[in-house]
């Protein structure tokens, strides 16, 4: 059996001094070798594992034949953002988890192949073959994250005239403000956004729906509205000391670093506290990204504090692996109790308690319980809280008849239809924090539902 190809990466020692991409991509030879490992299963299990059902064996076959143009066409007929998905999908729990080769040895590197093909296309310049004729029907999309971009691209292809309203000064949602450059270069996000624009989609930046215009007002110009507003509201722990200087929500920390490029201060104006001893609370991708950014800003020591064990960590396996290689300390089964200051309002320590796992809770994960008497302090001049986010209430609060759950998520049917006629929703705004590919899947479904809704009107 052929061996799984290893992708070249920047050495840990070197990469922690820069924000350049860590994984460097396959060479053509490597991609072809890796593609040849695929057994071209008659009933490909891998496809069932992909939330948008990319025709995996079909595109891989083209790669094995060295026909990268056909490969990208195949992927793009289903997935509009392959350069992104190839980099950030949790493949080990999705497509690659289901690959038959994984049962005995190593699964086919589906994500890395997807990335390779998308990078190949971008290097020659992405083309839009035909700009669709618009039917005259108009759809407004709120939010330019993966859900909004995907819905927009699909609706444009169905000949609707589409306008995206984005609150921030750059498009891309979490891809732009959250996920760091070293994991997803912004140039790639920009290329994907440009591609959507080339399909004829208009993007209005700096436009906070609910403020500059409400959804109700959008209906004077648009026939349907899609809400892809994400889950951007930071959750705090509600423990003592959380408002001390030096304590950040992960959203603030990552927005300053990624969207505002404060890692390039003073060339860029936005400020960031560069901690020497940084503690990050949480165990997801957001925590890994925060920790690795803090390290690259020059911290001597970065510690991740997570209340469960490594098995329960929701972060992608590759990110945990990379974080470890880079020297980030993991304090597992540890929970913060309070944050301690120096009396002048600056953080100096965080007090934690050890946890142990009991029987699984309703989420199926083992419930962590504090072990009395194990309180201890960790030194910290910057603390980053990455324990989750919930949807921003701005749009629901200003939209008549749009119902939300008690967690703040928008109530929507499987196809995205909300409780308000003509308003559809999808992505993190409906599910709470999830994944890029699931948000894209929701955008796709909603585009189809909007098409049916408008045809029936």
């Amino acid at each position: 059996m052929l061996r799984r190809q290893q992708m070249a990466e920047q050495e840990p020692k070197e990469r922690i001094t820069n924000f350049n991409e860590v994984a460097l991509g396959f060479t053509e030879e490597q991609a072809i070798e890796e593609a040849k490992r695929c057994l071209q299963c008659k009933k490909p299990k891998c496809v069932d594992g992909c939330p948008v059902e990319v025709k995996i064996p079909d595109f891989i076959k083209h790669v094995a034949n060295g026909d990268f143009d056909s490969a990208i066409k195949e992927i793009k007929s289903i997935n509009a953002l392959p350069a992104v998905c190839g980099r950030v999908c949790p493949q080990e729990t999705q497509c690659e988890k289901s690959c038959v080769l994984g049962k005995k040895g190593a699964a086919v590197s589906i994500g890395k192949l997807e990335r390779f093909v998308a990078d190949y296309e971008r290097s020659k310049g992405m083309e839009v073959h035909s700009i669709p004729d618009f039917t005259g029907r108009k759809v407004a999309i709120v939010g330019s994250g993966p859900a909004g971009l995907t819905a927009a691209a699909d609706l444009a292809r169905m000949q609707y005239s589409v306008t995206i309203f984005e609150a921030l000064h750059d498009a891309g949602g979490v891809l732009t403000y959250g996920i760091p450059e070293f994991r997803l270069p912004k140039e790639i996000v920009k290329a994907e956004v440009d591609y959507v624009k080339k399909l004829g989609v208009t993007i209005l930046l700096n436009s906070v729906v609910g403020k500059i215009e409400t959804v109700d007002e959008l209906f004077s110009r648009f026939d349907a509205v899609f809400l892809g507003t994400g889950a951007g509201l930071p959750v705090f722990l509600n423990i003592d000391g959380e408002n001390l200087n030096g304590v950040y929500s992960a959203n603030e920390f990552l927005t300053r670093v990624n969207l505002m490029k404060s890692y390039r201060f003073p060339e860029y104006d936005t400020l960031i506290k560069k901690g020497k001893r940084v503690v990050v609370i949480g165990g997801g991708n957001v925590a890994m990204d925060s920790a690795r950014c803090a390290l690259r800003l020059g911290a001597d020591q970065v510690t991740i504090v997570y209340r469960r064990s490594e098995e329960e960590m929701p972060a992608r396996a590759e990110e945990i692996e990379h974080a470890k290689e880079e020297g980030i300390i993991f304090r597992l089964l540890t929970n913060p109790v309070r944050i301690i200051g120096d009396g002048k309002n600056w953080v100096t320590h965080i007090e934690c308690i050890n946890m142990h796992l009991c029987e699984p809770d309703e989420s199926g994960r083992c419930r962590p319980v504090p072990t009395p008497g194990t309180e201890h302090k960790i030194e910290a001049d910057v603390v980053i809280i990455a324990v989750g986010t919930s949807p921003n209430p701005l749009v629901p609060r200003t939209t008549k008849g749009l119902d939300i759950t008690k967690h703040g998520t928008i109530i929507a049917e499987e196809d995205g239809a909300t409780t308000r006629r003509g308003v559809f929703a999808g992505g993190d705004a409906v599910t709470g924090s999830a994944t890029v590919i699931s948000a894209m899947g929701a955008g796709k479904k909603a585009a189809r539902a909007i098409d049916e809704y408008l045809k029936g009107k």
């Binding site: 930046l205 403020k211 500059i212 060339e267 921003n392 209430p393 701005l394």
Partner: protein
């Protein structure tokens, strides 16, 4: 899309007024709301109160004090220059009372955001008593505008060069002690001033609204940088405010958090001056 500076005026040394072309925001703006702007690609996002708006001309007026890198850079721009990003209207509109007697207090550059409220309050039939203060007479802004919309106008200067020699709080206290029935006080200015006003009105039990100027990044409730404690509850100034009941605001926390980036702010200003005026370092 960019946003053109249609008019620029230096009101007094270091305080500038600009009218920015932003028709979509002007259509929606209400007193009490603010905008965030980013001058160019490398700029930071800073919040500024909407000091006036003209729906017909499609303009938003901002008034700002050049105290740091961004506001200094902004003050160096001229009419017809563009600002890259201009986002709003953000925050909640001010509550407009009816048939009340209201004291409006503006300190320093804070006089500007008080103005549209004073005008709207007057139009809604309230009795408007305005108190505007500055360090010195030559730093006092918008006296004429404020006079036009106020039933009574008091002026204070720290050094006594105009009006009452002392602080705005002295006048607030005098009015309340004189027995005038006051339904509401609105105070906008430096945090120390707002804290002092809230302190004076507390024993009289007069509702006191303040507008909090915490550090902000996005201005849409996404980052939590602007968090403040009000009645021991964490609130985000950008979406829950910027106006809050001054009697419940933790001003010490607000001031501590405003000082968070002082060393970095200094570096930014020095670098800016170096580039502008030739390096002396």
């Amino acid at each position: 899309m960019s946003f053109k500076i249609l008019k620029k005026e230096e009101l007094v040394p270091t305080i500038y007024r600009m009218d920015i072309r932003a028709p979509r925001i002007a259509r929606k703006a209400q007193p009490g709301q603010f905008v965030m702007l980013r001058i160019n690609e490398k700029g930071e996002r800073v919040p500024l109160t909407i000091a006036d708006f003209d729906r017909e001309k499609g303009t938003i007026t901002i008034v700002f004090q050049a105290i740091g890198k961004t506001t200094m850079h902004l003050s160096s721009l001229d009419e017809n220059d563009d600002i890259q990003d201009f986002i709003g209207p953000l925050g909640n509109p001010a509550h407009i009372p009816k048939d009340e007697t209201v004291i409006l207090v503006g300190g320093g550059v804070g006089v500007a955001p008080v103005f549209p409220q004073a005008r709207t309050f007057a139009e809604a039939g309230n009795k408007v008593i305005s108190i505007i203060g500055a360090r010195s007479a030559n730093l006092l802004i918008w006296e004429k505008r404020m006079r036009e919309v106020s039933d009574e106008l008091y002026i204070t200067t720290d050094d006594g060069t105009k009006g009452h020699h002392g602080f705005v709080t002295d006048i607030v206290k005098n009015i309340l002690e004189s027995g005038t029935k006051v339904d509401r006080v609105v105070a906008i200015g430096p945090p120390v001033m707002m804290r002092a006003v809230a302190g004076v009105t507390r024993p009289f039990n007069v509702k006191t609204i303040v507008s909090l100027n915490s550090i902000m990044v996005d201005g849409t409730g996404m980052c939590g940088a602007c968090r403040v404690l009000v009645g021991n509850e964490t609130k985000f100034a950008c979406v829950d405010g910027p106006e809050f009941d001054g009697h419940f605001v933790d001003f010490t926390l607000l001031m501590n958090r405003l000082a968070m980036y002082q060393p970095e702010e200094k570096i930014a200003v020095e670098k800016y001056k170096c580039e502008r005026q030739g390096c002396l370092c």
